[in-house]
C-alpha cells in the first residue's frame, strides 16, 4: 500500500519536472501538415521554374540570379513565405488545442523559452541567407537554410520533446550534403522541409498525441 504512494510521488516529480521545463504540447500533427505545405510549395515552385526554362531549371540556385530575372525570384520568395506562414499558424493552432486539452497554457515560461531558443539560430541564419543573396551566392541559400533550421531545432529541443533534436540533426546533415549538389536546392528543400517534417511529425504524433 505504502509503495503505491511512493510510486505516485515519483511519477508526480517526473511529471512536474518535464512540464515545467519543456513545452510538451508541441503537436506532431502540425509537423505532418507543415511537411505537406512544404511539398505543395515545392511542387508549385518547380512548376514555375519549369515554365520559365525547361532545360535550365537545374541551374536555379546556381550563381545566376540574373538568369531568371527578379520577377521569378520574387514569386519564389512569396511561395516560401506563404508556406512558412501557413506552417507556423498550423503549429500554433494545433499546439493550442493540444495544450488546452491537457489543461496547460500555451504561452507559459516553457513555450517562451522554446520560441526564443528556436529563433536565435534561425534569425542568424535568415540574416546570413540575405547576405548570401546580396553577394549573389544564390546556390548556397538552400543549404544554409537547411543547416540553420537544423541548428535551431537542436537548440530548441532542450525545451520541448527530445525528438526534435534528431530532426534537427537530420536537417544539418542533408544541409551539408546539399552543399555538394548546388543547383538541386529545391529537391533538398522538399526532402528536408517536406519529407523530414512528415516523418518526424508522424513519429511524434504516434508517440505522444495518440496516447492522450
Amino acid at each position: 500500500m505504502e509503495s503505491n504512494k511512493y510510486l505516485e510521488d515519483i511519477s508526480e516529480i517526473k511529471n512536474m519536472m518535464s512540464r515545467s521545463s519543456r513545452f510538451i504540447s508541441l503537436s506532431g500533427l502540425s509537423g505532418i501538415l507543415a511537411g505537406v505545405y512544404a511539398l505543395i510549395g515545392a511542387a508549385v515552385a518547380y512548376g514555375k521554374l519549369k515554365a520559365v526554362s525547361t532545360e535550365n531549371y537545374n541551374n536555379f540556385s546556381g550563381r545566376s540570379s540574373e538568369l531568371f530575372g527578379s520577377q521569378l525570384i520574387n514569386e519564389l520568395i512569396v511561395i516560401a513565405l506563404v508556406v512558412v506562414v501557413l506552417a507556423i499558424l498550423t503549429g500554433i493552432i494545433l499546439s493550442y488545442r493540444k495544450a488546452s486539452k491537457s489543461g496547460e497554457k500555451v504561452w507559459n515560461s516553457a513555450s517562451r523559452r522554446l520560441v526564443l531558443n528556436f529563433l536565435i539560430p534561425l534569425a542568424a541564419g535568415g540574416i546570413f541567407c540575405l547576405v548570401l543573396l546580396q553577394y549573389g551566392y544564390t546556390g548556397l541559400v538552400a543549404p544554409a537554410t537547411l543547416v540553420f533550421y537544423g541548428l535551431a531545432c537542436v537548440n530548441a529541443s532542450k525545451y520541448t520533446l527530445g525528438d526534435v533534436r534528431y530532426m534537427g540533426l537530420a536537417f544539418i546533415i542533408i544541409g551539408l550534403i546539399s552543399t555538394q549538389f548546388i543547383g538541386y536546392g529545391l529537391y533538398f528543400w522538399a526532402l528536408g522541409f517536406g519529407v523530414f517534417h512528415i516523418i518526424y511529425g508522424a513519429m511524434m504524433y504516434f508517440k505522444y498525441d495518440r496516447k492522450s
Binding site: S3, D9, M16, M17, R19, S20, S109
Partner: protein
C-alpha cells in the same frame, strides 16, 4: 529502517513535492508559474512555500517588474541536496 529515515517529512505532500520538482529543473519560478503548474490556490501555495522556506530549502526573492510585485522562488543548495536524498529514498523504496 534507515531507508525510511531518508524520506523527508517536509516533502511529504503533493504540492511541496511539486514545488521542489519544478525548482530542481528551473533556475527559478515565480508564484504564478507554480500556481498554474500545480493547480493550487493562492493561500494553499503560499502556506507550502512558507513551510519550505522555513526549512531553508527554498529561497524567496521579492521584486518589482514594472509596477507589479513579483515573488520568485529558487532552491537553496541544502534544498537540492535534501530533495535528491528524498528522491533516492523513494526510488529505493519502490525497488527501482
Amino acid at each position: 529502517m534507515s531507508l525510511i529515515d531518508n524520506i523527508n517529512k517536509a516533502f511529504d505532500h503533493r504540492i511541496r513535492l511539486g514545488i521542489m520538482s519544478i525548482l530542481m529543473v528551473n533556475d527559478y519560478a515565480d508564484f504564478n508559474m507554480l500556481k498554474e503548474l500545480l493547480g493550487a490556490t493562492d493561500g494553499n501555495l503560499a502556506s507550502h512555500t512558507k513551510a519550505l522556506e522555513k526549512e531553508d530549502y527554498i529561497k524567496v526573492e521579492k521584486q518589482f517588474i514594472g509596477r507589479k510585485p513579483n515573488t520568485r522562488y529558487s532552491t537553496t543548495p541544502l534544498g537540492k541536496k535534501e530533495f535528491q536524498k528524498h528522491i533516492d529514498a523513494l526510488e529505493k523504496l519502490i525497488g527501482k
